[in-house]
């Protein structure tokens, strides 16, 4: 009991508690994950377009579409095969070097650090785009070809066909996969702590360092992460049932 009280004093909202800081750090984790995920969705759909340009085109496949597809396939292979930590290092140090180079033009020759939040968003979006494009591609493959033919048959041009038929169907099939990718992004956001962004893990590190109670703080971080992942799995399950309204399923 005494142990529990000491623990609550440490992570609670009292005078010596770190509760408020930990919660705002959890909000930062959520913020950087959401920004990274959404940017990744945009980037991922562009890559899917490149991969599927064959299907989208009015005329047959040509070498230009082949080149686009190879580019997109290369992107997903590389980004899914390289550790995320390396991507974060690339954006952090590479970005800082680039900013320093730009600064050189303007006559400033010091070190310009890459903003940590921007680094995090960029790294998360670039990595999750690779995963999301695979999800979208798989979802597009499960759209029945009859639906696409029907849309063309009643005279829909490519854009209305995309907006009214393809996008809603792809989104419906993609939601479970997107849920997995979101969980991945959420867990990856912990790696951003190496750039000094004060998210949940970094805040726990700071608290652990200043109180010398690493076990309690990392345990709290684990619990907070579990709460976030659990809550988001519920949200995605709701979304899935919502998009499945009006469909009949065999299983």
């Amino acid at each position: 009991m005494e142990l529990m009280e000491r623990y609550l004093a440490l992570v609670g909202f009292g005078e010596t508690g770190w509760g408020a800081l930990l919660l705002s750090a959890a909000a930062m984790t959520l913020g950087v994950s959401i920004c990274g995920f959404l940017t990744g969705t945009v980037l991922g759909s562009v890559i899917t377009f490149m991969q599927l340009s064959r299907f989208m085109a009015l005329h047959g496949a040509s070498w230009r579409f082949m080149a686009l597809r190879w580019l997109a396939d290369g992107y997903t292979t590389v980004l899914r095969g390289v550790p995320d930590l390396l991507v974060i290092y690339l954006f952090y140090f590479g970005g800082s070097a680039f900013l320093g180079y730009l600064g050189g033009f303007l006559g400033y020759h010091g070190f310009i650090g890459m903003p940590a939040f921007l680094t995090g968003t960029l790294a998360l979006s670039v990595v999750s785009a690779a995963y999301q494009s695979e999800v979208f591609r798989g979802a597009f493959k499960s759209v029945a070809s009859g639906e696409l033919e029907a849309a063309s048959a009643i005279g829909m041009r490519p854009w209305p066909k995309f907006r009214r038929i393809i996008a809603p169907l792809v989104l419906r099939y993609a939601i479970p996969g997107l849920g997995n990718t979101w969980q991945l992004v959420l867990k990856e956001s912990a790696l951003i702590s190496v750039t000094g962004l004060v998210e949940l893990l970094r805040q726990s590190q700071i608290a652990a360092g200043s109180t010398r109670r690493p076990f309690e703080f990392y345990l709290t971080a684990v619990i907070l992460y579990l709460i976030i992942t659990w809550a988001s799995s519920i949200v995605f399950r709701r979304l899935e049932t919502r998009t499945l309204r009006g469909t009949r399923r065999a299983l």
């Binding site: 095969g81 550790p83 930590l85 390396l86 290092y89 959420l186 867990k187 893990l201 726990s204 690493p214």
Partner: protein, 234 residues
């Protein structure tokens, strides 16, 4: 782009390759054994076993590996007197073993779900057919259930192996100098992020390429029934 620098980088990073491979193999093997145990508890352990394994999987899949690593490496350091008394401080003192332990526990959670899926995908007809032939218990498990389960679980398990290879990079955060650790140090020293990234990324891609080819060979070898039959000679 500076190719001499990239060559030097390549040689430096190669020194981290054995450690990366060692971390990955140790934790994949240990995690695989643990995962088999967990999957079996989940399948035959009844409601209590199911609840326990669900809890284990929820905790290790729901939180980032890096936090788990910190909890084991830094967090358990807080109980040093107790661990010294138990004689296991020698393990938790070393960042290498802490990385191996956290990678193992983490991959066991993912892998046990893959194995459980494989076991539960074995169709009841096949088990019934085996029973009808007079097999039961361990013999039935060894000859029928396990081979089918392995075959069904292999593609997903292959993905998990690749993910583990990439996850060993996190060990660099707790001071282990494997490929990513060396790459991070090189980038911080030379400020040439792009070149180092290309070289380190190429090494990881090469490992992944070899592993996926090996897995494809194993998959081919395990599924003779899906291949075209050679024309009969009659």
């Amino acid at each position: 782009m500076d190719f001499t620098f990239m060559g030097e980088t390549f040689l430096t990073l190669l020194q981290g390759l054995p450690l990366t491979l060692e971390l990955a193999t140790t934790s994949i093997l240990a995690g695989g054994i643990l995962a088999v145990i967990i999957a079996l508890i989940a399948v035959i352990g009844g409601p209590i076993g199911r609840g326990f394994t669900q809890g284990y999987v929820f905790v290790f899949r729901g939180s980032p590996l890096l936090v788990q690593m910190f909890l084991i490496y830094y967090g358990l350091g807080q109980f040093r007197p107790l661990l010294q008394e138990l004689g296991i401080w020698i393990i938790f003192r070393e960042p290498y073993w802490c990385a191996v332990i956290s990678l193992t526990l983490n991959t066991a959670a993912y892998t046990s779900e893959i194995f459980r899926g494989g076991l539960q995908a074995v169709s009841i007809q096949q088990v019934e057919a085996a029973r009808a032939c007079g097999m039961s218990g361990p013999l039935l498990f060894r000859r029928i259930v396990l081979p089918i389960a392995i075959r069904q679980a292999l593609p997903a398990y292959g993905n998990e192996i690749i993910l583990m290879l990439k996850a060993t990079a996190l060990a660099s955060v707790i001071t282990i100098m494997e490929i990513t650790g060396l790459a991070g140090k090189l980038i911080a020293d030379s400020f040439r992020g792009f070149e180092v990234f290309i070289v380190a990324g190429a090494i990881y891609l090469a490992i992944t390429f070899v592993v996926t080819r090996l897995l494809m060979i194993i998959e081919f070898w395990l599924s003779p029934h899906l291949r075209m039959r050679p024309p009969s000679l009659t």
